[in-house]
């Protein structure tokens, strides 16, 4: 299978705290990979290292056969190839919905305005937010904001979409609308890397589940394997905690 991104021996230290320990993994073209694990296990940090929002302490990230951690590599063009969806949406507060989806295309990809708007509208339509193109972010609900954020990332037409706990900041009622959009995307063959606490989503949609614990990938495999027959003890414990209510 063709690898879109390959991570080799990636480590990340925050001060004297090693958050990621020698991670090796890759994202294959067209697959949906879910990263699960308890909080503090380094899954969000791994995602943020991949698009360099956090600078890895050591290791390599291979994209298109090049190590993007080389000093001379242009990280800005690399980032346009990765779509990022944040837990806190992070829509541009000073732009309306349409402009949120066009500003990156116009300023970074240098597309002209008409083309950018056409592309943006198409993706806003896909996430069901086309009626709201003139709304400002503060006028939207959490679920609506997150759908716009997804459309914004898609408008850049990235090779990989990264989702950093996209439903964790939403109220239970609106989680469904965002998950539905993500399921549709997964079906369309988009390459997705999703950090999530939604075990139902991971089980149903993903091609591969990666379980992280204390900064290492403890176990990975097909969702059936991980959820039905986890091999590692800590995977079992984690799934037991998650599926039978937290703690205790």
């Amino acid at each position: 299978m063709e690898k879109v991104i390959e991570v080799r021996h990636l480590s990340k230290w925050f001060g004297s705290n090693e958050v990621l320990k020698d991670i090796d993994f890759s994202v294959n073209k067209g697959e949906v990979a879910c990263i699960i694990g308890s909080s503090g296990s380094g899954k969000s940090t791994l995602l943020r290292c991949i698009n360099l929002l956090e600078k890895p302490t050591s290791g390599e990230i291979i994209y298109n056969g090049e190590n993007i951690l080389d000093d001379e590599h242009n990280i800005y063009t690399y980032r346009t190839k990765l779509g990022m969806v944040f837990q806190q949406f992070n829509l541009f507060n000073n732009h309306n919905v349409l402009s949120n989806c066009t500003v990156g295309q116009i300023k970074v990809l240098k597309r002209n305005k008409e083309e950018a708007e056409k592309i943006a509208l198409q993706y806003l339509e896909n996430v069901g937010m086309a009626q709201y193109i003139n709304a400002m972010p503060k006028q939207l609900s959490g679920g609506q904001k997150q759908r716009v954020a997804i459309a914004r990332a898609l408008s850049m037409e990235p090779d990989v979409m990264l989702f950093d706990e996209p439903t964790s900041a939403l109220d239970p009622e609106t989680v469904g609308e965002v998950l539905k959009v993500m399921k549709d995307l997964a079906k369309s063959g988009l390459t997705m890397l999703v950090v999530t606490h939604e075990m139902g989503f991971a089980r149903e949609v993903s091609d591969r589940v990666i379980f992280m614990d204390k900064g290492v990938i403890a176990e990975e495999g097909k969702p059936e394997e991980i959820f039905n027959n986890p091999k590692e003890k800590r995977t079992k414990e984690f799934l037991y905690r998650i599926l039978n209510g937290n703690d205790d």
Partner: protein
């Protein structure tokens, strides 16, 4: 003192008062605008993330130091002293002859710039880190992030502080009378000197100052409200008419 006298003094000298007020407004307005621009530029430069190594880091460090000195110097000395140094001082020491009005605008601008750069820096720091991250994630560099995402929000947030600076400038241009800029205080002083009356001319001047500052505050408040826009998005305002559940309920009740 009488109202009659005050009216007479105003009637005889209204052109001088008006010209003085005009000069005060001109200097303080241009000074505030240039000061804001200086403040924005300095604020942006001082918040550039420090590179980890290389010559860029050294250059940026030196620039930051110089800007810090600029801010400290002009915040830490009185404008009246700065005026004397810049206008008479440079004339005597270096033989630089400046137009009084330009000198006045220069002094007010760099002074406001020093204050505004701290205000802008505070405004940038207060913007949620998520806005920066989202911009970076989409591939924007620092400059693009600043221009397209951060600064528009910062400018909205610092508008009240800018209005404050403007009001302060309207009042503080009065110190420019020491370099004989013909602003409102200077004109009032001339009128008082010519009529040997002090209460009436200065009272009129204070009223004019008050009118100017209140008007400015009101105008800025209006601009702020305009920039904020409505809190709710009304879909009915769109060309595309989409019925919301509450519209359907409303229609049902109306038709009944």
């Amino acid at each position: 003192m009488s109202l009659q006298l005050m009216a007479d003094i105003f009637a005889n000298n209204w052109q001088m008062f008006l010209r003085g007020a005009g000069m005060t407004l001109l200097i303080s307005m241009i000074g505030t605008i240039i000061g804001l621009i200086i403040g924005i530029l300095v604020g942006i430069v001082r918040t550039i993330p420090m590179p980890e190594k290389g010559t860029k880091r050294t250059v940026l460090k030196i620039i930051n130091k110089l800007l810090a000195i600029y801010v400290e110097f002009f915040r830490g000395t009185p404008m009246i002293v700065q005026s004397m140094v810049i206008f008479y001082g440079t004339a005597q020491a270096f033989g630089i002859q400046m137009n009084r009005i330009y000198a006045g605008i220069l002094i007010v601008s760099i002074n406001t710039g020093a204050y505004m750069s701290e205000i802008v820096r505070g405004g940038i720091v207060s913007i949620d880190n998520g806005q920066f991250e989202a911009s970076h994630a989409i591939g924007m560099n620092h400059m693009q992030t600043m221009i397209n995402v951060v600064m528009p929000q910062v400018i909205r947030n610092i508008l009240p502080a800018t209005g404050n600076e403007f009001v302060i400038n309207v009042k503080d241009t009065s110190v420019l009378n020491v370099i004989s800029v013909t602003e409102l205080f200077f004109q009032t002083k001339s009128i008082a000197g010519a009529t040997f009356k002090f209460f009436e001319p200065y009272f009129i001047a204070s009223i004019i100052y008050l009118i100017m500052t209140i008007t400015i505050t009101r105008i800025l408040r209006c601009i702020e409200r305009r920039m904020d826009g409505p809190a709710n998005f009304i879909m009915a305002g769109n060309q595309m008419q989409v019925e919301r559940p509450e519209d359907i309920v409303y229609k049902k009740n109306r038709d009944r």
